[in-house]
């Protein structure tokens, strides 16, 4: 890509196909901006063959539409161009039968929709990049009436899609919910099959106006190669703006 690359792009450089990306955040620092960044990247004109399937549990379409428009990407247009498939699971009027079914049935219906879309896309054009994004797993658990097994099943199925069709699977989860030992299963399993782990945390010294938090990117796929191990963990600070975000190494703020 000829765009000026930043630290986050560098850290996520090889994540195009066959990968699972897990984003972890907490109450103090939201990690949603990583999703926005990736959405913009995949819907940019450079990667014109991408299909983005976005499952929104946390925020409605209008919220994402406004944010991405400020980032320079028109979601409504991408929707018309069939490059974006948006499942709004929050707003009742937009959602059809998928949400009205709760629990296991709802998740199953959602998976079938995703599966169908992925299959159609890969049939129509081989070698097409397909990205599946889920913006909040913990709300998905609520939608499944607290059955984390059902959610795990769902995530496993989506994981199989990544190998079968070469999709990229991006998931956001709130780490602090799962910090208690007996609740950790879901997050541990996700961490296990994630290839890239992005963790958004507040600064240990508290909030600041010019540094909004720090990101730790663990790229597991790099670890296997010899001599590459020094690239394993990227750690940098970020500052968010309406139209972009700045990423810099600690203390290198210009």
């Amino acid at each position: 890509m000829e765009r000026t690359s930043n630290l986050l792009d560098e850290a996520l450089a090889e994540t195009t196909k066959n990968r699972v990306v897990l984003i972890e955040d907490c109450v103090e620092t939201s990690g949603a901006f990583v999703l926005h960044h990736l959405m913009k990247r995949f819907l940019s004109p450079q990667s014109s063959t991408c299909l983005l399937i976005f499952v929104a549990f946390a925020n409605p379409f209008s919220h994402y539409d406004r944010i991405l428009r400020k980032l320079g990407c028109n979601l409504a247009m991408q929707k018309d161009n069939k490059r974006l498939l948006f499942f709004d699971m929050l707003m009742p009027q937009c959602t059809d039968e998928v949400v009205r079914k709760t629990g296991q049935a709802g998740l199953r219906a959602l998976y079938h929709k995703i599966h169908k879309a992925v299959e159609m896309a890969s049939l129509s054009e081989s070698n097409r990049d397909i990205i599946i994004m889920i913006d909040d797993i913990s709300v998905m658990e609520i939608a499944a009436n607290g059955s984390s097994d059902d959610v795990l099943d769902f995530l496993h199925y989506c994981h199989t899609l990544t190998t079968q069709f070469g999709c990229l699977f991006v998931v956001l989860a709130h780490e602090d919910i799962y910090s208690v030992a007996d609740r950790a299963t879901l997050l541990l399993q996700m961490e296990y099959f994630a290839d890239v782990l992005v963790k958004a945390e507040p600064l240990p010294t508290g909030l600041a106006t010019d540094v909004h938090g720090q990101l730790t990117v663990l790229n597991k796929s790099n670890c296997y190669g010899l001599g590459n191990s020094r690239n394993k963990v990227h750690n940098f600070h970020f500052r968010l703006k309406e139209s972009s975000a700045e990423y810099f190494y600690p203390g290198r703020l210009t």
């Binding site: 409605p60 406004r66 913990s138 609520i142 799962y178 208690v180 909030l207 600041a208 909004h212």
Partner: protein
């Protein structure tokens, strides 16, 4: 385009100069949001204008003290003064009786007295530097009040009950949480409340206040997932309508992972804490400790349609009752440490001694 129109400025105050286009009690904010007042002028200022319409506000209670009631009362009163419909749910047997404790907007005489107070302070001229910020903020705020006093946010006199005419002939609905055996009845109440508003074509905002949501009096207090899915559904119907919901809950009664889930679901997250009377350490550290009734922390500020987080100067504020009537929030002011700081000049050589480190514990 709507987006460009709403984004003329990120300063919400500009809009208060031209309130004619907006209904009373509403204020345009950045990113196409519309604010309603929390009923506490200082809190509105801290949050950048108030609570955005469509947001879910959560207040974490202190189980020992009823400070969350102060927030709820002001929030509800402000809505009634603006003639906005109100839905109130509480675990009490007779929730309607709570309406009798709502505060009334302070009369203009009180306001003048308050403004006068501030002016008097600003006339004094010389001021010690560490206190300066406090007065500066207050002065700004009173200017702000004068502009929007009638339209947007009132000061409430906590000792004067709200006039009856505000309570009668209004669309006020009260529910006792004890009567709700399961969550779906409560959710139905909320959704009919919101849809009634839409049917009767009322443009003004609606307010939903739910007090002590997961308290043990409620039948459903052990159904963690049901409560969560209620909050999720409430959040989605609130988002779709012109309303704000505020839920206070005793966070300590929930297990830590569930409490985190609740906090993640909140758009705006506040917590209140009582302070002990006899906390000598704290009394030494903070000025005006005697007047404080509690602390209010802002953990999360709603950010709709934007990815930029709101970074506040301070996240913890002291709650004070001015003249025992008006609820004000102030930044915590750390008192200069008397005596020990003086002695450190004398003994420059040992200024990093253990005694210094002990007293200046930031």
């Amino acid at each position: 385009m709507a987006a460009t129109k709403a984004r003329t400025s990120s300063f919400s105050r500009n809009f208060s100069a031209a309130p004619s286009s907006v209904t009373a009690g509403l204020k345009n904010g950045p990113n196409g949001t519309v604010f309603v007042s929390s009923g506490i002028p200082d809190l509105d200022k801290i949050l950048g204008g108030g609570f955005p319409l469509g947001s879910l506000v959560m207040v974490m209670e202190d189980t020992d003290a009823p400070h969350h009631m102060l927030l709820l009362r002001n929030f509800m009163s402000q809505g009634l003064v603006h003639n906005q419909p109100l839905l109130y749910a509480s675990p009490a047997k007779d929730p309607r009786s709570f309406l009798g404790t709502l505060p009334s907007p302070s009369t203009s005489k009180d306001d003048k007295a308050r403004d006068h107070d501030v002016e008097k302070l600003s006339d004094k001229g010389l001021r010690i530097a560490w206190q300066y910020k406090k007065y500066f903020g207050e002065q700004q705020m009173s200017d702000h009040n004068r502009d929007v006093k009638l339209e947007y946010c009132n000061d409430f006199d906590l000792r004067k009950p709200l006039d009856r005419h505000f309570l009668n002939g209004q669309r006020i609905k009260c529910i006792s949480l004890q009567d709700c055996s399961n969550m779906s009845t409560l959710l139905d109440c909320c959704s009919t409340f919101l849809s009634q508003r839409q049917e009767s074509n009322i443009t003004c905002a609606g307010r939903i206040a739910i007090q002590s949501f997961c308290s043990p009096q409620c039948d459903f207090s052990d159904l963690d997932w049901d409560m969560l899915s209620f909050i999720r559904s409430l959040k989605s119907i609130i988002r779709a309508s012109n309303a704000v919901a505020i839920i206070s809950f005793p966070a300590s009664l929930l297990s830590s992972s569930y409490s985190k889930r609740w906090q993640h679901l909140a758009d705006t997250l506040l917590s209140v804490r009582a302070i002990q009377d006899e906390d000598k350490e704290l009394a030494k550290l903070l000025t005006g400790y005697q007047d404080m009734i509690g602390l209010l922390s802002v953990h999360k500020v709603a950010r709709f349609n934007t990815q930029v987080p709101v970074i506040l100067d301070a996240t913890t504020f002291s709650m004070k009752l001015q003249k025992r009537r008006l609820l004000v929030l102030e930044c915590l002011n750390q008192a200069p440490v008397d005596g020990s700081s003086g002695s450190s000049y004398g003994t420059t050589g040992s200024c990093f001694g253990s005694s210094m480190a002990g007293s200046l514990d930031f």
